[in-house]
């Protein structure tokens, strides 16, 4: 099951953040006023499966990796034909997102130093915890592609590569109206928000057998 997909640029900013909601009704808009501190700080891997159901029913029972188990919300639940439920570019600058980046960054550096052969370059591909696995790929230009899944998923390196070479290239690099440099400011950086990229990666990821 794929929970979320993020891209970080070489300035350590999260330029794309997509969370998928499984088995929940479609959440098109969530109210920023109801952001619950417990969740926004969260545990770094974002596991909040048993988090308390929202009192007021306004539904921010997400977790930083985008794992949403159940929602009390009824209403617009046309998740089949409508857009894929989840959040787009909503939690790019959340603490959880920064923590996730920190983990990847440290692990990447440790991994590179492991092994005694200088010629054998050791790269980080994924790491897993009891319930989750985070898949990681970094391009030579410093773009980091991250997919968070459950533990059943084995290796997604080819998917990450596909996201980079096919989707990022076609809808960001070849797109004259999309920036390729998203700014160095950690608070006011740009994001990938063109609809072609979002729709194409959504339909690519949801079509995978490991998505559900």
């Amino acid at each position: 099951m794929i929970y979320s997909f993020s891209i970080f640029d070489r300035h350590c900013n999260c330029i794309y953040n997509r969370r998928y909601i499984h088995d929940g009704p479609l959440l098109t808009q969530s109210k920023p006023s109801s952001v619950n501190l417990k969740n926004s700080i969260g545990d770094p891997l974002g596991v909040s499966i048993t988090s308390l159901p929202p009192d007021n029913g306004s539904g921010d029972n997400f977790s930083p990796l985008g794992i949403t188990t159940k929602s009390k919300e009824s209403g617009s639940s046309s998740a089949i034909n409508g857009p894929i439920p989840g959040y787009i570019n909503k939690y790019n600058d959340s603490n959880a997102s920064k923590l996730l980046f920190g983990i990847m960054y440290s692990l990447k550096n440790i991994t590179a130093k492991l092994g005694d052969l200088a010629s054998l370059f050791n790269t980080l591909k994924s790491f897993s915890t009891e319930n989750f696995r985070v898949h990681f790929m970094e391009s030579a230009t410093g773009l980091k592609f991250v997919l968070a899944t459950d533990n059943e998923v084995d290796n997604l390196q080819h998917i990450l590569k596909e996201l980079y070479t096919n989707y990022y290239l076609n809808h960001v690099v070849y797109n004259a109206l999309s920036p390729v440099e998203f700014g160095t400011d950690a608070n006011e950086h740009g994001k990938i928000s063109n609809s072609d990229f979002i729709n194409a990666t959504d339909s690519f990821l949801t079509s995978l057998s490991v998505f559900k």
Partner: protein
Amino acid sequence: MSGDLLGDKKLVNAACLDLFLQELVPTSIRVSQNLNDSATSSQSSTSKEESVEPTLIDLQLSTIKGDLPGGVEVFESSLIFSDDVTVRIETYGFNLGMRLAELLMFHGAQSNTYNKFVDVLEILKFVCRDVWWSLYGKEMDNLRTNHRGTFVLVDSNYKLISRINSAKGFSDTLTKSKIYLWFPCGVIRGIVLSFGIDCDVSAEITKFPAVTFNIKTTINN
């Protein structure tokens, strides 16, 4: 005939050409902005010495707000709709067309594909097949004429704009890709004029990314 008149020799990498053409509109806007800047401050610019700075990641490329390398803020300048910018883009295409016609005819004559054209329709067929093939690796999808000097060429997936997608929505995508269309209009006008025929070319986006080129010549055949 399908295939490249220039033969199998790949003279320009297609990806490089695509990326280069993307820079057409931003560069043109920056040129206009710089010309405007120097016009308003003509007295001070003579005393100020031109300094050349290396391009860094936070160096403003022009005085347009937020115009940094790799960004797209330059498209927000109101200059994008000015005649200055569109005429410049059209002229780039026009000059390219004039030269490309010569190059293709030279190679076409060598391989005995073309020696001369008898009427305008053949010139437009040449545009549809060979010019489009050498620029975009494909032919035009449709060519229609009213036999009174007006031609309609349709490219159902015009490469220059096919991957453009604005984060601000579809209407923004349309507005900005229209500016890019001045370039192929100029190319067609340049090609046709290099055979001695004056024409007006306009382009419209019928169903994105399909583009219809309307060519009005004065020849009545």
